[in-house]
Symmetry: C2
């Protein structure tokens, strides 16, 4: 089977790619395991570090119909659509956010529709679709009320995915991700970049800035569990998504203060002292509009799994990324 | 001041136009009443019946940037965006619905953005944005869960209007309309067309078909109150829409059986006998997914008014449309 990952050069795309190559197979539309013959990693920059003969790396603009038609064809059975402009960047560059987060998603769904074979499309949405006056724990029935360009764009893409699925054009499955932490690599233009930075940088003996207050509550998921859940969602039978194409993934609710306490407990006060607290009202406003927790009943009933607690999240980063980074430096 | 009505040839557009011409003024962005010098009625077919010198009738395709740039300019202070592909038509012609209900709305907002003077944009959405398992009375906090192309498209246009408003590109105000009844004129391709037809046709001594069961519950508003509320929403201060750009208008909750009882009470059993009950599963599915009632607290607090009951709705039709129709036939 042929599988496409958009945003394939991103940290989640590459991690998912490694997972798929390691598994070597996925369930097809009939629920039967099938070998992955071809894995296309599509992004605006090349996905590096893959020597596996099953991998094809393609670069291009995902909002360009011609570029997209080069990577989606009648053999493309499954698509993981991870390409996105992140939150602070979408807020700063309105047109770019609309183009990638809405138009490219619609173009992808439309490309699938034209091909007519109803591929599985796994899509990642975000906590950012919620906002405004939220209950302590967001429910499946809680109205979306995004307060950022990124949130609006993800909410619209969710609706498009649901509609293209209802029409039978795609088999769309959307996972609303908690904020991903601890993300490896460098800081990015996500408003939530600090949610990884305040752990990652101190663990690597680097200084970092925390732009929000210690009582700011976050809803977190490790990259490891995000990838596990993407594969799990892909392999579920279509009946799991008939009533609702969008699923809130499990997360861990933790305040920024508690995150820093965990860091201190695991790595000591020297690590904690690497954090400079410097409030950024734009980031605080965006992050403060996101829910600190949502109900996990549906996700758990379907078999999705979150992290045990924030300690587990930090330990997952140390095992999955920090060790690899240290080794690569030797 | 220059005012634009898109969908200006539709029954609601024409009725709103007559109301605006009669009022002669609207409040501008500063809350000061200003004379309406120019009223542009834009639609795919000409809005007929207007000899007032303030009126300009323009025909064109609202999803065409050039056509739109002919009717929206730097002098356009207020826009009532009523143009839409109705529910059954949007369900039958997916591309047309997407083009008019999403793309044209976005193009309109984008045109306003490029002009840079932040006009008021009044937009009408629908009960159809709700669906699935709904509470007995839908609340402002109830999640949108549209089950039709029309509903998805209106939900997406709402999100776009909110975002363009948050960004300061437009002063958008969206009214979610109950099903409009009793609509004058001929049946149309709205799934809810029967909600007018089962009253209008019998009152005009014509046969009609009711495609849904008698226990189907509808949420109704008369054309008279719809127009009153559009003007009222336009003239409210911007602070009314800061927290939420979308407002659920008041309605009357009534079953189709109760509607027919009202018809009998007002016009006798001969009128009732004009209704043939012939179920249509497509219409029943679409209409059955819409809420039969929603909470009116916010609308009432802001001063919006619905109809007293379904009897008042029928009497409004008789006074506003039936008499005029009879007179035109003499």
């Amino acid at each position: 089977m042929k599988v496409l990952i958009t945003g394939g050069a991103g940290f989640l795309g590459r991690r998912l790619a490694r997972k798929l190559l390691q598994l070597g197979k996925l369930k097809n539309a009939k629920g039967v395991e099938e070998k992955i013959d071809s894995l296309v990693l599509f992004d605006v920059v090349p996905a590096d570090g893959f020597s596996d003969p099953r991998v094809t790396v393609v670069t291009g603009d995902i909002a360009d119909p011609q570029a997209l038609s080069r990577v989606v064809d009648a053999q493309t059975v499954s698509i993981f659509h991870l390409a996105a402009v992140v939150s602070s960047q979408a807020e700063a560059d309105f047109d770019l956010g609309m183009r990638i987060n809405i138009d490219a998603a619609r173009l992808l769904f439309e490309t699938c529709r034209r091909l007519g074979h109803c591929p599985k499309v796994l899509f990642t949405s975000s906590v950012a679709v919620y906002g405004g006056d939220l209950p302590a724990v967001v429910q499946d029935e809680t109205a979306l009320n995004p307060q950022s360009s990124y949130g609006i764009e993800k909410a619209i893409a969710e609706l498009l995915l649901s509609e293209y699925s209802r029409k039978g054009f795609i088999d769309g499955r959307c996972l609303r991700l908690p904020t991903i932490s601890v993300r490896p690599g460098k800081p990015n233009k996500a408003a939530s970049s600090f949610a990884s930075g305040i752990i990652r940088e101190p663990l690597n003996n680097e200084e970092t800035v925390c732009p929000v207050t210690a009582d700011t509550r976050l809803w977190l998921l490790s990259p490891r569990q995000a990838v596990e859940n993407l594969v799990f969602a892909h392999d579920l039978g279509a009946e799991a998504f008939v009533q609702n194409r969008v699923l809130n993934l499990p997360g861990v609710s933790v305040s920024v203060g508690e995150m820093v306490e965990t860091l201190g407990r695991i790595s000591g006060q020297a690590a904690v002292s690497k954090i400079r607290w410097e409030s950024d009202p734009v980031v605080q406003r965006i992050i403060g509009s996101w829910p600190g927790s949502w109900d996990m009943k549906r996700a758990h009933a379907l078999g999705f799994k979150g992290d045990k607690d924030f300690d587990s999240i930090v330990h997952a980063y140390i095992a999955d990324d920090l060790v690899a980074r240290r080794c690569s430096e030797i």
